[in-house]
Amino acid sequence: MKNFIKIITVIGLVAATWGCKDSFLELAPISNPNAEIFYKTRTDFDLATNAAYNTLVTVYHPQGPVSYAGELMADNVTIFNISGNQADKWQFRDYSLAPANTMVYQFWQDFYKSLYNINIILDKIAPADIDAAYKSQTEGEMLFLRSLYYFNMVRIWGDVPLVTKPVTAAEAYNILRSPSTEIYAQIIKDLNEAKAKLPATSSIVGRATKGAAQTLLGKVYLTTGDKTNAAKELKEVYDSKQYELLPSYASLWDVKNKNTKESIFEIQFLGGTATNPYSNYYLEFFPNSIALGFYGAGMNQVVDDIWNEFEKGDSRKEASIDTGFVDAKGNFTAAKFPKKWTDKTAPLINQSIAANNNFIVLRYADLLLMLTEATGEVSYLNEVRKRAALPLYGTAAYPSKYNTVALALEHERRVELAFEFHRWFDLKRTNRAIPVLTAKGKNVSEPKLLLPIPNIVRDQNSRITQNAGY
């Protein structure tokens, strides 16, 4: 009996002291990696860089900020019924944006979340003990992405808080909106640095290159009104002969034709299965219908105004706009929607469709048209016209209503780059937004060409100012 009690007592005491160490309470996460030990090795930075590129998917999402501003606020497209908070989406189309608009806030978050993923790499890679060439190229790529985002942000909101490194919540309260001139200065500085650090071509398809940085820089200069520097950067890319127009405009949108010679910077997608990072443009731009087994979201539905903008015989119209769809019974439903990202081979997955189309952010035709804009030389414009097999600018057959280079460019950019998220930015850059959009019945005024600062942002930090129109 005594022994029995002793045994029990010993077991009790052992149990009592078992785990009586603080290590018992130190549990490492099992199914998520711990960030504290990340951002050290080259493999870490490979993974982090991929995550940074992944932010392009959000920013250039068909329901992302560049799509809403670039297309829905201009005159190419409209939306009817659309899932989510419908009224908030219509506010873009109708120029009735309120600071409480949930999409505007979503976009604000999207941009700064993306910037964090870029800034943390720039912050952590500098002291890391890794190969200098790798470091330099990674920095160049991150600076390119950061510039691309700030360029979009400054065009969408004007002055925005400038964050170039990871900041804590406490620090964030002291970062207010920087004047857009400062944002542009940062972009130009970053792009020049990126240009120096980036190779002409990357061994990894889809990564930012020197040409991409220069093309973007050219566009930034154009936007700031610095045509001289714009011409210089763009001409260098032109002269590199690295890029060219594809012979056929339609083949540019063939789902199998990715990363062509015409592409300067392109967002990469991979369709086929639900687990792949597949492309959403087809699904989102498809009319609001489930006739083909997936839920078309009905974003960016094409309006007649751009349908009529195409000249007679311009095959780009057919390549750019789909006119309807045929359901299971063979019935045709008429509806105009963007065709460029159609993937008829994509498999249906749970009412969604895993399309394979990439999205081109910068392409050579855009560069050519910018060159004309920067230099006044119409030869670049005519290269684009030539591919479209349309009368060249300056010839008699050229439509007389576009009787200036500026008007010719406005027309050409609209049809050549239709639905590629350029239109509203182009109109703003050329100071044409008010007259053009007013004529189309949009209730637009100068202050409404900037989006409101979301009211949640100002609720959190009352020192953040609002834009004049709100």
């Binding site: 009996m1 009790g12 309470l25 700064y112 808080p161 309260y173 299965t273 359901d327």
Partner: protein
């Protein structure tokens, strides 16, 4: 060990030794206040196992060895009485019902206490209070009867756990489920469906901080102690119970029929078309696609008749069966209780069911005078199929949204209009035709879940010295759940899209172990009594999940995933651990002055490196005034006690790795291959610490007029500090929120409980009434006290200083503008035309803008009350319970789908009174429908918020105890038949099923189990903040059961 056997043998041999001078004693046993004989009372000779029980007439006869013999009379629910035989041969005994006694034992954390000594706010409920109720979860039976404990059934599905809030809501985003302690084992987010209510001896609810503080970091949402039954020394008791029930959804949501729907649909299209400059009579050919109207609707709407009521299709009257056997008994040294129960419940929702098998074995034995051991083992398996609880896109919500003009079956026997060989296929040309046929989700889906739970506690108690006891226990809770899902190819065209077959399977595993070691010291010196407790516990839990999905099935013959191609799969695991030290001293003087002090120190893995440990102290005092000499002359007062307590409790319910920064996957594509990526998914907070609640409580207990009136009243004031909150941080950090300790919140309230025995004697009548009122107020938030606002599916909730947590926040609609003059006379949205809502210019600036949004209500009621009346005559007993909740609001999220045009979904019948013209203005509340609402019609507004006040006849119960002569004839000890009805009638104006419905669960992290937190329809990061939002919930059926209980 060898010495143990002879000892046991000696005991066994000692028992049959009978004194030769024995003689017979007879007598009778009755209750103290009535003359009814008590059958089945155990009469045992003290120190032996010899004994008998009283017969149906309450009499007994027993041979006793000597005049010194002491007889022990004991009976469930009564205080045991010891009588020395002396020279008597006829002994009459009156047993005092335990509930009338201050000496009744109450389970408190890590021990028991006499009711007299309780100094905190503790409610104790014994088995009698819920024995005939039919719920699978014991807490559902307690709803409406416990002051300060709000138990609401957010979802009516069988097995759905209720939301339990003890003394308001103490946190904004951390978990708020009370801690469940089963036979001493604290279990976070435990599903009480896993404990068969019939196995439960008592439930104790620890409401105030001083009684909950012994559970330290897990006590701030209150603690519910569940104690299972144990046999009593004496005769073996066998009890059996059989029940049959019938469930029915009696309160439906009133939806439009086909004719009303078509009229509204057509008006919505025409209103939008005329707003664009069109004419209502224009044909489809000139209209844009979204404004075309099916020809059937314009040419011949009558062909559809009243159409289909989808609620008739999906709901049915459902039976349930419940059977149970319990065997208990024991000797002075060994007690046991074994039980087995089976519940087979068909759900009111088509194809759904809930089956539970539970077995339990509780054994305790004394090995020696000083040493005893025991084991409580409960095994439960639940097989169920439960749908409809996720709101929004789940079957019940979708059923309401489906268009009424579609038939249940089309001419091909298929379910929907997407059947290409059906004439109904013509409707596919319209993108706003909606059908989610309930059967496409119930009968075309093969779905099941199997859950298994084993909860075992082995313990050993050793008396080291007199008065000093050591107890060690080891508990394990192993939970495993598997689910399988297979969706038939094409779903007979009944779903919103024609989908290929798909299947998935999942598995959840949880293992929780706990080691507890306590030393208890009890000492009485003169009139001073002292009990001390020291303890050390450690607990750890691991959760794992597994998920596999497949598609590409060749046909629907095989539903397991091997038949298809696996497309996705993943597994996850996570852990937490907790170390605790605890100490408590309970002291009393003359058994009328009581003082308790306790402290617990908890360390937990979830918290930040710098703040892993926290202290949770408490102190409380009680004074039994009625024992004072100055009150001894006041005969009216039987007892009067004053209590006061103060304590600190904590809340640890945050994600397991909440304090560290984690990485999440963010893949990209490099050309043609997937490139893995990792990004930071949350900000670290190494300083993360416990959320702490300081609560002050005073209470008074009064019993007067021969204990016929019992009153308890409580007042409490609690302040929660360092609230664990996903605090919105400036988005420019790259993150929207960070888990931080922030702010202060107060809950202050009063509780009153009055129990009266209005009539005694042959005809009895008792009334139990309770009333509680809690005021919740946020005192402080983050930097600058910036309000915290969350939006999910349009509904906006806002937490701001000076207000209760999570107010509904939006525009106020003051009816409908009837004509242009009314519009011109009041500020309005630019798009406004007659028939549009009149939005209140709250800030009076002459325009309607975001700034006109204001507080629209809050789900928390102003007060809740419950009243139970029980009348009895001879063996009959009738009891009915009314429950009420007053002053709360509910956000009817379904207004988004059903109260406004939403892509052609059906509408609430109430909306049919919409504005049609100045001459036909409708009810003045419902604005005109339109496919394109241009104003604020679809924004969150008062149009969505309804009064959630209700009165419910929650329970009616009739029982009849068979007279002794009958039960004797049937050769059974006693028997009772009963009829029990739950949720009998609801008095409420709410448009949805039930004002208790909420489709957002309480926040509960790190639990594989089905809890109230498992029901969530939205994607809100913090479901707890969206309590009181109903996005298409499962109705609460009326349940009527008949049953019979017999003891042998």
């Amino acid at each position: 060990m060898k010495k143990l056997l002879p000892i046991i043998l000696a005991f066994i041999l000692a028992v049959p030794v009978v004194n030769a001078q024995s003689f017979a004693v007879k007598g009778s046993v009755t209750g103290v206040n009535d003359t009814d004989p008590l059958p089945g009372v155990s009469v045992v000779i003290k120190g032996t196992q010899r004994g008998t029980t009283t017969g149906a007439d309450g009499t007994f006869q027993i041979e006793v060895p000597s005049q010194e013999t002491v007889l022990v009379f004991s009976f469930v629910g009564y205080q045991s009485v010891e009588e020395t035989v002396g020279s008597r041969t006829d002994i009459s005994v009156k047993l005092i019902s335990e509930s009338k006694s201050l000496e009744e034992m109450v389970v408190v954390g890590y021990g028991t206490q006499s009711k007299r000594a309780v100094t905190g706010a503790v409610i104790s409920i014994n088995y009698d209070k819920f024995k005939d109720r039919s719920f699978s979860n014991v807490t559902q039976s307690l709803a409406g009867t416990l002051p300060g404990v709000n138990i609401s059934q957010s979802q009516g599905a069988p097995g759905a756990s209720p939301v339990i809030k003890i003394r308001g809501v103490s946190s904004i985003t951390a978990g708020t489920n009370p801690l469940i302690v089963v036979d001493g084992v604290p279990l976070e987010n435990f599903n009480l469906n896993l404990i068969n209510p019939q196995d439960i001896e008592s439930i104790e609810v620890l409401k105030d901080a001083s009684s909950a503080a012994i559970y330290g970091s897990r006590g701030s949402s209150g603690v519910i102690l569940v104690t299972t039954k144990m046999g009593k020394p004496g005769k073996v008791s066998v009890s059996a119970n059989v029940e049959y029930g019938s469930q029915k959804v009696v309160r439906r949501v009133k939806m439009m029929d086909a004719q009303q729907f078509i009229e509204t649909y057509v008006d919505a299209k025409n209103n939008a078309w005329t707003a664009q400059g069109g004419n209502a009579s224009d044909p489809n050919s000139v209209r844009p696609a979204t404004l075309k109207i099916p020809e059937d609707f314009t040419n011949n709407p009558q062909q559809f008749g009243k159409g289909t009521n989808w609620q008739d299709v999906m709901f049915r009257t459902a039976p349930s069966y419940n059977a149970q056997v319990t065997v208990s008994g024991g000797t002075e040294k060994t007690q046991y209780m074994f039980s087995a129960a089976y519940l087979d419940q068909t759900a009111v929702l088509d194809a759904n069911y809930y089956k539970r098998l539970s077995v339990r074995s509780n054994v305790k034995t004394q090995i020696s005078k000083k040493l005893s051991v025991g084991l409580n083992l409960g095994i439960t398996s639940i097989f169920d199929r439960t749908e409809g609880t996720q709101g929004k896109s789940d079957v019940i919500s979708l059923g309401l949204q489906s268009n009424p003009h579609f038939p249940v079956y089309n001419e091909n026997g298929n379910l929907g209009f997407r059947d290409p060989n059906s004439t109904w296929f013509r409707f596919t040309s319209y993108a706003d035709m909606n059908l989610w046929h309930p059967y496409s989700l119930t009968r075309e889906v093969d779905k099941s879940r199997k859950s298994f739970n084993t909860l075992a506690t082995g313990f050993l108690e050793y008396e080291i010295l007199d008065n000093l006891r050591f107890r060690t226990s080891l508990s394990g809770n192993l939970y495993n759940s598997r689910n399988a899902f297979y969706w038939n190819d094409k779903q007979k065209y009944g779903y919103s899209a024609v989908l290929a077959a798909q299947g998935n399977a999942g598995d959840a595993y949880m293992f929780n172990w706990l080691s507890e070691n306590t030393l208890t010291y009890e000492k009485k010196i003169g009139e001073h009594a002292l009990t001390g407790l020291l303890g050390y516990t450690s607990q750890k839990q691991r959760d794992e999940t597994m998920y596999v999905a497949a598609n590409n099935f060749p046909n629907d013959l095989v539903h397991t995933l091997n038949a298809g191609t696996v497309t996705a799969g993943n597994t996850t695991a996570s852990e937490w651990s907790l170390l605790s030290y605890l100490a408590r001293v309970q002291y009393n003087f003359k058994n009328k002055y009581f003082l308790t002090g306790a402290i617990r120190r908890d360390g937990m893995s979830r918290f930040g490196e710098d703040n892993k440990w926290g202290y949770f102290p408490s102190v409380s005092a009680g004074w039994l005034i009625s024992d004072e000499s100055f009150l001894s002359g006041v005969n009216a007062i039987n007892s009067l006690k004053l209590r006061a307590s103060y304590g600190v409790t904590g809340n640890n319910q945050i994600p397991n790795y909440g304090s560290i920064s984690l990485l999440a996957a963010a893949p990209y594509v490099n050309g043609t291959t997937i490139a893995n990526g990792l990004k930071v998914s949350n900000l670290a907070n190494s300083g993360l610490r416990w959320e702490k609640t300081n609560q002050f409580n005073v209470g008074v207990d009064l019993a007067i007029f021969n204990n016929r009136v019992n009153v308890s009243a409580e007042y409490y004031n609690s302040i929660t500090r360092d609230m664990l909150l996903f605090v919105p941080v400036p988005d420019i950090t790259g993150f929207s929120s960070q888990l931080t300790n922030i702010g202060k919140m107060r809950n202050r309230g009063v509780e009153l409980n009055i129990s009266t025995k209005n009539l005694t004697g042959d005809f009895t009548w008792t009334t139990d009434f309770n009333l509680s009122r809690n005021r919740n107020k946020v005192l402080q938030l983050g930097p600058g006290n910036a309000p915290i606002q969350y939006v999910d599916n349009v509904v906006t909730v806002r937490t701001e200083v000076g207000q209760p947590v999570s107010n509904f926040y939006g525009y106020v609609f003051d009816g409908v503008f009837n004509n242009q003059n009314e519009i011109d006379a009041y500020p309005h949205h630019a798009s406004t035309t007659p028939g549009d809502p009149k939005v209140r210019d709250v800030n009076g600036d002459g325009k309607i803008s975001d700034a006109d949004r204001t507080i629209l209500g809050n789900y928390q009621p102003d007060f809740t009350a419950g009243i139970t009346n029980t009348v009895g005559y001879k063996g009959f007993e009738l009891s009915f319970l009314f429950q009420g909740s007053f002053g709360g609001e509910i956000a009817n999220n379904n207004v988004r789908y059903l109260g406004t045009w939403d892509n052609g979904r059906n509408f609430f019948a109430s909306m049919y009174n919409y504005w049609r013209s100045e001459a036909e203005p409708g009810d003045g509340k419902h604005f005109k429908p339109s496919v394109n609402y241009l104003g604020l019609q679809k924004q969150f507004s008062s149009y969505w918020v309804e009064d959630a006040s209700f009165v419910r006849l929650r329970n009616v119960r009739v029982s009849y105890a068979l007279p002794a002569k009958w039960s004797n004839k049937l050769k059974i000890g006693s028997a009772r038949v009963y009829v029990n009805a739950e949720n009998v009638h609801l008095f409420s104006k709410y448009t949805g099923y039930d004002p208790e419905n909420t489709t957002y669960g309480t926040t509960s992290y790190s639990s594989s189990m089905e809890t109230a937190g498992s029901y969530s329809s939205g994607n809100a990061p913090v479901p707890g903040a969206f309590q009181g939002v109903d996005y298409g919930s499962y109705p609460l059926p009326r349940v009527i059961t008949v049953g019979i209980k017999a003891d042998f």
